[in-house]
Amino acid sequence: MLRSIFIYGLINSIILALTAVGFSLTYGISRVANFAYGALYVLAGFAAWVLLHRLALNYYLALFLAVVFVALVGAALYRFALIRVRGMPISEIIVTFALGTALVELLRFFGLFGSAYGLPPLRRATLQLLGVPVDFQRVALVVIGAVLILALWLFTHYTKIGLAFRAIAQDEQAAMMVGIDPDHMATLSLALGSALAAVAAVVVLPLGYIAAESGSNILVFAIAVCILGGLESPAGVIVASLLIGYAQILSVAYFGPHYQMIVALLAILVTLVFRPSGLFGKQKELEERV
């Protein structure tokens, strides 16, 4: 029991980190809270399903194209919609939230609910970890999640675009003066954030099925992790994912499956009430929040 809690808690934490990292990245760079994030996650799953089952593409190609497609949708979301209401938080929230809702409900209308839609795993196999049976997809997911987060860290610290991202996150005015176009960066940040949502979708969804309902769940999970960790703090995302991830698995083990969501929701409220800057938030953020 303890060992399986340890293993599944870790897996759950990585899933949370994967789903949250895109939301955190977009917010950290462009200060856009993308309330359409969960919808983009569902869209990625659906796109991959269409490419796989309707167009019968190669498995990896289908997943790759789905990620690219969702990244483009994210970029378009900024270019054609958000750019008009930049700097007006009320409008930004309404636009992303409503577009996300529209997308999810549209997919639901076309029949995306229940267990009819699923993505196949990378490989159907079961491994033994510390005597606990774990299927291959979950192990792959842990590896992919860890690699991805490491890659992101390297990207933001060592590449030109990544450094520009960080510059704009720290001081938009100064970044503009050295020739960084904030709209360009914001477009990229939404594209990248959406792509990360899509990656999370294509590796996590094979564990269950694609359902429109998961849109709001994913959004809540991402928000929970980001708030607890402190928005735009990469270390915060990891620590918060571990905390919430294990708390969820424990609650499921001792209370029941419904409590997974309640844990995440409570994490949001408790953090905002008692430590609004999150575990790793910086003073600058605190001033923004309080």
């Binding site: 809270a33 809702t101 309640i262 409220l269």
Partner: protein, 334 residues
């Protein structure tokens, strides 16, 4: 030949804002019409909607009008965006059900208690989040209805996923019809009046620049609490009313529809005007009902409409109507 459109205030506006020129009947009508006609219209409407279906649409419209009004009031008075109007609705709805089923209180009493006590509960829930700004407040309000719904689901209290049935209905259809319409009218006028007082002026200033208000020796938390209390009272009334109307309450009392459609109504009607969101509800809700057969597609429909309006026509119907009414427009040659 180039032309441009010129807008001139109608002469009566030039006279004064407060002391109306009442020397002629037509001017009196001009001044009074914008408030009198909508009231008459609303009060007569139930008499001319024969079918049960139409009555239900009317009632649903009024309920959404309350939620939209409540949303707009929060935005005007505190500058905060609520994504969780369903919280207020749900709290009122469940409270009315409990009061009726467990304490045997009659509908009119539960309605009264649910409105005031429910608002106190909802305000107490939201109070810790009041210091938060913008996005963070929006996130927490998005969380609340979900949290309550999931808790009811997980713990199976209050009927769990089945909901509670067998709740008393209103004594007669006229009470049922006029109660909610009267509440919409009363609340709209009362809140508008409130915002015009000095107290309301301080409230509006908080959304402009809360720092300057604090530097003016004013405790903004008190004002925000009052604003949330009033707004949640509207939502709780709507919820409690709905419970007695359908003699049932379930998890749908926390549904996303109740949070997003009011925002759409407010945007359509004109944010920040209070009357606008009510008008918006009377435009949007019947439209949404007409396409109810489309199922979830109607959510797509009004979500997209909402996005389009926010992006391209954020002023809303209200200021458009006001301009048409108050100003003369004509084309002049340049």
């Amino acid at each position: 030949m180039a032309k441009r459109r010129e807008r001139i205030d109608r002469p009566i506006r030039v006279l004064t804002e407060d002391i109306y020129a009442l020397e002629s009947l037509s001017r009196m009508i001009y001044v009074a019409a914008p408030s009198v006609f909508p009231v008459l219209f609303l009060l007569l409407l139930p008499l001319f909607t024969p079918s049960l279906y139409m009555q239900r649409v009317l009632i649903l419209t009024a309920v959404y009008a309350l939620l939209a009004l409540s949303w707009d009031f929060i935005a005007v008075a505190t500058g905060l965006v609520s994504l969780g109007q369903a919280l207020f609705f749900g709290v009122g709805a469940y409270l009315a059900a409990i009061l009726n089923l467990h304490f045997g209180l009659p509908p009119m009493v539960t309605l009264l208690v649910s409105t005031f006590a429910g608002a106190a509960i909802a305000t107490a829930l939201v109070a810790p989040c009041l210091p938060l700004r913008g996005v963070y407040f929006a996130m927490t309000t998005l969380v609340y209805p979900l949290l309550l719904a999931r808790t009811i689901e997980a713990t199976a209290v209050l009927g769990g996923t089945d909901g509670l049935v067998g709740i008393a209905s209103f004594p007669n259809v006229w009470v049922e019809r006029y109660l909610v319409l009267a509440f919409v009218l009363g609340a709209t006028f009362a809140l508008r009046r409130l915002l015009r007082t000095d107290f309301g002026l301080v409230m509006r200033s908080i959304s402009d620049n809360d720092q300057a208000v604090r530097a003016s020796a004013i405790n903004i938390t008190v004002y925000k609490l009052v604003a949330i209390y009033l707004a949640s009272a509207l939502g709780c009334f709507a919820g409690a009313y709905f419970t007695h109307l359908y003699m049932f309450v379930g998890l749908s009392a926390f549904s996303l529809d109740l949070s997003i459609l009011p925002i759409a109504c407010a945007v359509v009607g004109g944010m920040g005007t209070l009357v606008g969101p009510v008008i918006g509800a009377f435009v949007l809700v019947p439209l949404a009902e007409m396409v109810r057969d489309l199922g979830t597609l109607r959510v797509v429909f009004y979500s997209l409409l909402l996005v389009a309006l926010v992006l391209f026509k954020p002023e809303g119907l209200m200021s458009f109507l006001e301009r048409k009414y108050r100003q003369i427009e004509r084309w002049v040659q340049v």
